[in-house]
């Protein structure tokens, strides 16, 4: 099989997007569905083929050499810069490829049911396919610039899909906020790339960049490496919604719920984590940058979790939970646990997609009601949704031994804790923050579960009567829930003496980076840490159960007067802070520059002022030649007199 398979995988969804985007309005709904889901299924099947090819290649040429490469054309050549349009499949992109096309396909299927009655059905699927195309560019790109095409492409699709119902100004505003906030991250990312480009001599190829940072490479100065890493991390913080750039993600919930599942939970938002893992050899070379990254990740994990504790919108809870879980992944990167980051990225894709689609099923059944205070007892009406949601809650909370989220989160906590043991003391803080976040996670997830599915129904009667779930929507839920249960098996902790399959698979990608870290062999510690994590999770679960699983329809009274509660309800008022400190001053500056600097000063005083001055001087000089002979004669006589005075 030739390596053109990679190009084909990327092209299929693009074709789907073009067909539905151009002809969709005139095509029958069935055909739109077929094109949209078919192209993604095709990409998934081809991906399976490509990954198995990579696997067999690995057997033949060894793990370090195995890689599928497709060179399409030379994209940009100018001066020293040479960038080609090319793809590569290595173990890391293979994992991402399967997650993106697999979960992506399930969400496409779910969307068929969810968007069934929307009048712009075709446009939705055109955008969704365009997203798949961009995401595949992002993960298969062989150099930073191809990755960046995908990076911005997914941002564009996110913008279009958040504002999918564009006649609602608030939704359009949310889309714009997402785009602009991501651009703030891109600003930083681009600066990092510019500097990196200088030291790499115009080459951005991932494989060759490894040598640039290597022992004989051009990039050795630790300060420069730290600056580059921090700038690149700025980009990751935008895309992967880390503090302080996370603000767009909660608002992004304005989009259709399957979009939240696909883009704003399972795939796009993990792009920042993926990018840092892709450049692990670079990030690992800067201890300072790694410390900052770990602390930002752990801080974000706890910060977002505290907000999720009190939210009442089912999607908002999940959105903050996503921010928090992304924090865990970023923390993993920061402590050198690149495999752990990708592992958690994968398990999170399963359980969070399941949770979001579950919430979609609820919202669909509840006629677009999203307030969990208006729900309750929905398990009776939506049994499959409730069951899969419960399983996924266990997974994200890590409240059941060896369920996927338990294993992957444990790996991150273990890596952070042992890093602190090896003299990197700030990592103890990171571990503490993350452990606290884990406790909060268990609480808010089960608060959400009990308020939605258990207890008594609190909404209006009519909705209750009609509430039901659809098969096209429940099948993806069941598949995802199954994956959420067993997904952890590919990365069992070493203490169990089972092979860590994911670690072995990814080893060639992260080998260079791992040389910068010493990993603890103290695996008996792992039992203790697992025990701590499980205890924290169970405390959270049972606290939520005690508070929110109630036989009656009333809700526990929220401490609405307490300052801390209001602060959490208002999401720490970070949006207000940005408005006051950045946005409003900048807008005022723009206004002042326009009315004062441009219209009054530059154009008024300098330009038109000069014209007026010339006019005035002209007016003045006109007196001298007014055509009056007597004046002229007088002037001549006076002039002659003065001249004579001087001469004589």
């Amino acid at each position: 099989m030739s390596t053109e398979i990679l190009a084909l995988i990327v092209l299929l969804p693009l074709l789907g997007a073009l067909v539905n985007g151009i002809l969709g309005a005139r095509l029958p709904k069935g055909l739109v569905t077929l094109v949209a889901c078919g192209s993604v299924l095709g990409a998934f099947l081809l991906s399976l083929g490509a990954v198995s090819e990579l696997y067999s290649l690995r057997e033949r040429v060894g793990a370090d050499e195995a890689m599928l490469v497709t060179n399409l054309w030379s994209w940009i050549e100018a001066g020293p810069l040479t960038v080609s349009a090319s793809f590569m499949l290595d173990p890391l992109s293979a994992v991402m490829l399967l997650i993106v096309t697999g979960v992506g396909f399930l969400i496409h299927v779910f969307s068929v049911g969810y968007m069934h009655s929307d009048k712009a059905y075709w446009r939705y699927f055109a955008y969704l396919n365009l997203f798949m195309f961009s995401m595949l560019l992002l993960i298969l790109g062989k150099n930073i610039l191809v990755l960046f095409v995908g990076w911005e492409g997914v941002g564009l699709c996110s913008y279009l899909l958040i504002g999918f119902w564009y006649d609602d100004m608030e939704k359009a505003q949310a889309g714009q906020k997402a785009f602009v906030t991501n651009r703030v991250g891109d600003f930083s990312f681009l600066l990092g790339v510019f500097i990196l480009l200088f030291f790499s001599g115009g080459d951005l190829d991932f494989v060759r960049l490894r040598d640039v940072v290597g022992p004989a490479g051009a990039l050795q100065d630790p300060l420069t490496i730290t600056i580059i890493c921090l700038l690149l991390f700025g980009g990751a913080a935008g895309k992967s919604a880390q503090f302080p750039l996370y603000v767009w993600l909660p608002d992004a919930m304005a989009g259709p719920t399957p979009v939240s599942a696909l883009i704003h939970a399972a795939t796009m938002v993990t792009a920042g984590v993926y990018m840092m893992c892709r450049l692990s050899f670079l990030f690992a070379a800067s201890t300072t940058a790694m410390t900052v990254i770990a602390l930002v990740g752990a801080g974000t994990a706890l910060f977002a979790a505290t907000i999720a504790l009190v939210q009442n919108d089912i999607k908002k809870v999940l959105a903050y939970s996503t921010v928090s879980q992304l924090g865990f992944m970023v923390l993993a990167v920061g402590v050198g646990g690149f495999t752990g980051a990708i592992f958690h990225l994968m398990t999170h894709a399963f359980f969070k997609a399941c949770l979001f689609l579950g919430s979609g099923s609820v919202i669909h059944a509840m006629h677009h009601e999203q307030d969990i205070r208006q729900m309750g007892a929905l398990r009776k009406k939506l049994p499959v949704t409730a069951g899969t949601f419960f399983v996924s809650c266990l997974a994200i909370a890590g409240a059941f031994p060896f369920i996927s989220g338990f294993v992957s989160k444990d790996e991150i906590l273990f890596t952070a804790f042992t890093a602190s043991h090896q003299g990197n003391s700030p990592m103890l803080v990171a571990y503490g923050l993350a452990a606290a976040a884990a406790l909060c996670t268990a609480f808010y997830m089960f608060r959400l579960y009990y308020l939605t599915f258990e207890g008594e129904y609190r909404g209006d009667h009519h909705t209750w009567e009609h509430a039901h779930e659809e098969k096209v929507m429940t099948i993806p839920l069941v598949v995802l829930a199954a994956l959420a249960v067993v997904g952890g098996l590919v990365g069992l902790p070493e203490v169990t003496h089972a092979p860590h399959l994911l670690h072995e698979w990814l080893h060639p990608v992260f080998a260079t980076a791992m040389t910068h870290f010493t990993y603890s062999e103290a695996h008996e510690l792992e039992w203790i840490l697992m025990g701590v994590a499980l205890t924290l999770a169970l405390v959270g679960v049972f606290a939520a159960r005690a508070m929110y699983k109630r036989p009656t329809a009333d809700l526990p009274e929220a401490p609405t007067d307490a300052a801390w509660y209001r602060l959490l309800m208002d999401k720490w008022r970070i949006d207000e802070l940005y408005a006051a400190v950045v946005l409003n001053p900048l807008r005022r500056l723009a206004g002042v520059l326009h009315t004062q600097a441009d219209v009054k000063l530059i154009d008024g005083l300098f330009v038109r002022g000069t014209a007026r001055l010339v006019g005035r001087v002209g007016d003045g000089l006109r007196v001298l030649q007014n055509g009056d002979v007597q004046t002229y004669v007088t002037a001549i006589v006076v002039g002659l007199a003065v001249l004579l005075l001087f001469v004589v």
């Binding site: 994209w75 940009i76 050549e77 810069l81 960046f148 911005e152 681009l190 115009g202 530059i602």
Partner: protein
């Protein structure tokens, strides 16, 4: 000697205009069809340039040299190189689109309109091909007249103010340039030949004064902040055709002038003025973007965005390395395409609603889906989304400029060239945020939200003619975005030659005074940046 391709190219539009003079004025359709046909013919005639052009040659190509006014040493001297090639093609490509696009917007004095456009095309092509300074100046000033008429006759309510301002403002700059040209003419032994003038050895003082004269003319045309205030007025009052040609080609005459004349003729002064130009370019980028954000008129917003975009081009030119200069040339073409398309799109809704105020719209996506899609694609090109043309140009300019500043050695003074370059790139890159802010805010207010005005409910989507005009532009947006090498490759030899020739002098003089005062800093810097030995131009002062 084969056909005088360039002469034919320059002459054809004017011959067409002359023919139109004999067609009775009331036969509007005939004028429109003939005008478009002539413009298309000129475009087709410009295509052989691509095959005749040798991408490996470093100097001027397709040289034509005929006697014109031998008594004063002025010749009909024409040539192209990798700097001008794509701007010439951009001109011949945009003109037919504009003529077809103006079909329904221009309904009175159609004959005069078509003639003005064709004469303008002659002037633009002439200015881009001329390698004789008098000839260049003639075409340069000839561009003003049709433009003056375009705004003055077919413009908006406040058109007289805008035309007079446009005319006088640009005239002031060009007159100073004329003085400079005459001075050079006298120095060169009574010749306007660019090659002879290029061979002159100008001392730093002469260069400084001449650069000021030429540079001001070009800076006004670009426009470089703070010489930009004629532009928003001219754009808002001009008809769509005028705005497209103004943004698409006329503004590039300024940046082209820097590359073709100011830089090679006065490298010493260019170096001295580089920090100033750098700062003004970056101020233009940020200032233009912020002021664009504050606009309530769509067309004014696009006009100010031009100030911002042309700031990027100037930034690439002063960085003066191959990467950045090629980015700058590419960005000139890109700006012509995407801003041209934006003005056409604004013209489309103006024709339907006779307003351009943002608040008069809202929710247009519901009634004009195709128009909305096109607008968003062009917006993405304008804000430099990768995959579109805008990204490649911006990326080359910014990364090229950044390499001017690296590595920043510890202890480098803040106003030294490397630190200035780094700071400039940081501020300029913030343009990617601001661009998204002002463009997307406008898109949101015009296209999204509920349909608030009844007058907008029945708006017709793009018609076939409008699609025909916009489709080539949209195709180019993606075409150049995906295959920029097609444009970059023919530039390599010319740009390399230009950089190699001028860079040693420029980079020697753009080191600020502090550097000279501290030799331990100046030494490694100079060694790093001037690989080639200084050419004759610098030590020439001694021989004078």
């Amino acid at each position: 000697m084969s056909l005088p391709l360039l002469t034919l190219l320059i002459a054809t539009p004017s011959v067409g205009a002359l023919m139109l003079a004999f067609v009775p004025a009331h036969q509007r359709t005939a004028h429109r069809v003939i005008g478009a046909a002539v413009a298309i013919l000129v475009f087709l005639m410009s295509l052989p340039l691509l095959s005749a052009f040798d991408p490996a040659a470093t100097g001027l190509q397709l040289v034509e040299d005929a006697a014109w006014i031998p008594s004063i040493g002025a010749g009909w001297r024409l040539a192209v190189d990798g700097v001008s090639l794509w701007i010439i093609l951009l001109t011949t490509f945009l003109t037919p689109l504009i003529l077809i696009g103006a079909h329904s917007a221009i309904t009175h004095r159609v004959r005069e309109f078509v003639i003005a456009m064709l004469v303008l095309e002659t002037a633009m092509l002439g200015a881009l091909c001329a390698t004789d300074l008098l000839l260049f100046y003639l075409f340069w000033e000839l561009m003003l007249v049709p433009m003056y008429l375009l705004i003055g006759i077919w413009g908006g309510a406040n058109r007289l103010y805008a035309t007079v301002k446009f005319f006088i403002y640009t005239m002031v700059g060009s007159l100073l340039m004329l003085v400079g040209i005459i001075y050079l003419y006298l120095l060169a032994g009574h010749s306007f030949d660019f090659a002879q003038i290029l061979a002159l050895k100008l001392d730093p003082t002469q260069q400084r004064w001449l650069f000021a004269a030429f540079g001001l003319a070009f800076a006004i045309k670009v426009p470089v902040f703070p010489f930009h205030t004629w532009l928003p007025d001219a754009h808002t009052e001009a008809p769509t055709a005028g705005s497209v040609i103004l943004a698409g080609v006329l503004l590039k005459m300024g940046t082209y002038g820097f590359l073709r004349f100011a830089l090679p003729l006065f490298p010493h002064a260019m170096g001295e003025f580089s920090p100033l130009v750098l700062v003004l370019s970056v101020v233009g980028i940020v200032y233009g973007a912020l002021v664009a954000w504050a606009q309530s008129d769509v067309k004014k917003l696009v006009a100010y965005s031009s100030v911002s975009h042309l700031g990027f081009v100037m930034l690439g030119i002063v960085a003066l390395n191959t990467q950045a200069v090629e980015g700058a040339i590419l960005q000139m073409v890109n700006h012509g395409i995407s801003t041209g398309a934006l003005f056409i799109l604004v013209g489309v809704i103006y024709e339907r609603r006779h307003t351009r105020k943002i608040t008069d719209f809202g929710g247009l996506a519901a009634v004009m889906p195709l128009f909305t899609t096109t607008f968003i694609i062009v917006t993405m090109s304008s804000i430099g989304l990768p995959g579109t043309n805008g990204f490649v140009g911006e990326f080359l300019i910014l990364s090229g400029s950044m390499s001017e500043g690296l590595p920043v050695l510890p202890g480098t003074p803040w106003n030294a060239w490397p630190s200035l370059s780094v700071a400039a790139v940081v501020f300029a890159t913030s343009g990617v945020i601001l661009g998204a802010v002002y463009m997307l805010s406008m898109v949101r207010r015009v296209f999204f939200g509920p349909l608030t005005h009844d007058a907008n409910r029945k708006l017709a989507d793009l018609n076939l003619r409008e699609i025909l005009v916009l489709a080539p532009l949209v195709l180019l947006i993606f075409g150049i975005g995906l295959f920029p090498n097609l444009l970059l490759r023919p530039m390599h030899a010319s740009v390399n030659a230009l950089v190699e020739r001028t860079r040693p002098v420029v980079s020697a003089t753009r080191q600020p005074l502090e550097m000279a005062a501290s030799p331990q800093l100046a030494a490694p810097k100079l060694a790093a940046s001037t690989d080639a030995p200084l050419p004759e131009a610098a030590p020439a002062e001694a021989t004078r």
